[in-house]
C-alpha cells in the first residue's frame, strides 16, 4: 500500500504522533512523509530516521505558519497528482482540521482518532472511540484515498535509526491568496502536553478541601476556596514535576476556577491515554472517566472509599491527599534519585 503521512510540527518540532503514523504506514507498505513549513529540512531528515522511504518537502516562507487553507491547498494538489492509497495524519488540532479539508478537496471521507486498524486487499477497517470512549465503532471508507487520523500513543513509536536516509523530493507550496493571516502566538503555560504525556497527575474538587489551611485575610468565601485549591494544586504540580508528568484536572475543578481549561481531562476536555494516571481528589464522574479510562495504570487518592474512581484504579489510597501527596513526591524523589 502506498501511504502518505502528514508530519505535524510547530516551528520545526514534530508532534510525536507523526512518527507513530510513519510506523503504522511502514507496517502497510511504503511511506512518503509530507513535511510542510519554512526552514524545515531537518525535519525531513528526522522523518527518514523514523522510517519514511521518501519525503515530499514543501519548504517555503509562505508555509512558515500553519494556515489551514494554504496547507490544504498544497496537500490537496500533491495528493490529486500522486494518488496515495492511504493518507495518515496524527490526531492533533492541525492534523484533524487538515484531514477534514483534504477529504473535501479529494471527495473522500475521514476516519478520525483511530486507535487500531487492519488492512485487507487495500481496504482498511479501523476502530475508533465514540461517545468519548463509552463505545467503540469499526469504520470503513468506500472512496480513495482513505484518510485516517491516528490517536497519539495508540500506536508504537518506531525506533529512530540515526543516519538513515531516503529520497528527498522538493515540492512547491500552492500559490494563492489565502484569506487568513497569522499575527502571532501566545504560548501555553509550559510543562508537559497532556495528550503526549506518559504520566499525568490530576486534581479534582478535593484539592480545595484542606482544613488545615487558613486563607489570607480579606478574601470572600469563593476567593478563599480558590486560594485553598491553588495550594492543593501546588502539591499536584510538585508530584508532576518529580515524575516529569503533565498536570490534569476534572471538570469540577476547572468549572470552579481552580485551574485553566486547557488542563481539563474528560469528555468536554482532553482525552488522554498515559502509562500512569494519578487522580487526586477526583471522585470519577462518568464524563471524567470517559477521558482517561484507557490509561495503563490508574492510581486514585481520595478520602471517600466509595468514589467511582476506585472501580477503574489499579492502586488506591483512601486518605488525605494533603498528607499523601507530599510524602509521595518525597518517596519518588528518593527512589528515582532526583
Amino acid at each position: 500500500m502506498n501511504t502518505w503521512v502528514y508530519v505535524d510540527h510547530f516551528k520545526g518540532t514534530a508532534l510525536p504522533a507523526s512518527w507513530e503514523a510513519i510506523g503504522v504506514g511502514k507496517t502497510l507498505g511504503t511511506v512518503k512523509a509530507l513535511v510542510f513549513g519554512s526552514g524545515v529540512e531537518a525535519l525531513a531528515k528526522t522523518a527518514f530516521e523514523y522510517g519514511a522511504d521518501e519525503v515530499l518537502l514543501a519548504d517555503d516562507p509562505a508555509l512558515a505558519d500553519y494556515r489551514a487553507e494554504a496547507f490544504a491547498a498544497t496537500l490537496g494538489k500533491l495528493a490529486a497528482d500522486g494518488a496515495p492509497d492511504l493518507l495518515l495524519f496524527p490526531t492533533t488540532t492541525r492534523g484533524r482540521e487538515l484531514a477534514g479539508m483534504t477529504a473535501i478537496d479529494l471527495k473522500t471521507g475521514v476516519m478520525v482518532d483511530v486507535i487500531a486498524l487492519e488492512a485487507a486487499d487495500g481496504k482498511i477497517t479501523v476502530t475508533r472511540p465514540i461517545y468519548a470512549g463509552k463505545l467503540l465503532t469499526k469504520e470503513t471508507c468506500s472512496s480513495k484515498p482513505q484518510i485516517i487520523t491516528l490517536r497519539g500513543r495508540a500506536f508504537p513509536k518506531p525506533a529512530q535509526q540515526a543516519g538513515k536516509s531516503g529520497t528527498l523530493t522538493k515540492v512547491s507550496a500552492a500559490a494563492g491568496d489565502f484569506l487568513t493571516k497569522v499575527e502571532g502566538y501566545t504560548t501555553a503555560e509550559g510543562g508537559v502536553s497532556l495528550t503526549d504525556a506518559g504520566v499525568i497527575v490530576s486534581g479534582g474538587r478535593g484539592v480545595s478541601n484542606n482544613p488545615a489551611l487558613t486563607p489570607p485575610a480579606g478574601l470572600d468565601e469563593k476567593q478563599a476556596e480558590v486560594w485553598r485549591a491553588q495550594q492543593g494544586f501546588a502539591l499536584v504540580k510538585d508530584l508532576a514535576a518529580v515524575l516529569g508528568a503533565a498536570v490534569g484536572a476534572s471538570r469540577a475543578a476547572v468549572d470552579a476556577g481552580y485551574i485553566p481549561y486547557p488542563n481539563q481531562v474528560g469528555q468536554t476536555g482532553k482525552v488522554v491515554s498515559p502509562d500512569v494516571y494519578i487522580a487526586c481528589g477526583i471522585s470519577g464522574a462518568i464524563q471524567h472517566l470517559a477521558g482517561m479510562r484507557t490509561s495503563k495504570v490508574i492510581v486514585a487518592i481520595n478520602k471517600d472509599a466509595e468514589a467511582p474512581i476506585f472501580k477503574l484504579a489499579r492502586y488506591g489510597v483512601v486518605g488525605d491527599l494533603f498528607q499523601i501527596l507530599p510524602a509521595l513526591s518525597a518517596a519518588f524523589k528518593k527512589k528515582l534519585g532526583k
Binding site: 487568513t180 492502586y315 518517596a331
Partner: protein, 256 residues
Amino acid sequence: MKIVVCVKQVPDSAAKVVVENGKVSWGDAPLVINPWDEYAVEAALRQKEALGGSVTAITIGGEGSKDALKHALAMGADDAILISDPALVNMDTQATAQVLAAAIQKIGGVDMAFFGRQAIDGDAGLVPAQTARLLGWPALTLSSVIKVDGGSVKVERGIEEGRQIVTAKLPAVFSLTKDFGEPRYPSFMGIRKASRAAIPTWSLAELGIPAPVSVIAWPEIMNPPSREVTCEVISGGSPQEIAEALADKILAEKVL
C-alpha cells in the same frame, strides 16, 4: 451581522451509553443540545449583541431535533430552521457538511457561521472545517476569543502549543472551545418564546441539492472491553509509609 449557528441534538453527557443487540442505547437519559454547541450559541449571541443583526439556529434531524433548536431560541436566537429529509440518515461528516453548506448558502448573506468544536456522540470534530472548505470561507476552528472589526475578524485559536492569533476576512466559519466563556441559561421569557416559535422545515428539494453520498460505513459498534482491574488499596501506617509502598507498586509496573 447575519449569523448562523449549527447545533445538534445528542444524548446527555452523563448518559450511560451501551450497545444492546447491535444498537446504541442511552436508556432513559435525555437528549439535549450538544454541550459544545451551547458555546457556539453564546458566541453567536455575543456577536449579535455587539454588532446588531440576527442569529439563526439550524440543525439536521427529525422532529425531535427541534428541541436543540428551541434551546438555542430560548437562549436568544431569533429564528431556527430544521433540515429534515428521509434521505438524511447515517451521514458521515462530509455529507453533513454538504447539507449545512447548502443551507447556509440558501439563507444567504451570512457573515459568520458558528459551530461547537465537535458533537459528543460522533466525536469527529470535522464538520466545521469541512463546511468552511465547501463554502470557500476561512475555517477559524477552536476559537476562544473573537473580535470583529469592520469586514474582518481576529481570533485566538487553541493549539497544542498555546494559542494562535489569526486575522481573516468575513464571511468565516468558527468553532468554539470552552474557554470562550460560559453559555447563558435560557431565560424564562426565552423559553416561552421558544415554545411558541414556528420552526420551518427544509427538505433536500428545498435546499436544491441531491442527497449527499456518505462514504464512511460503520459495520460494527461495540462496547469497549471491560477493564479487569481490582483496586489494590494501600493502607496501614503513616502517610510516609503508605507513600513509600505506593511508589514501589507504581515503579514495579515498569512504566515510569
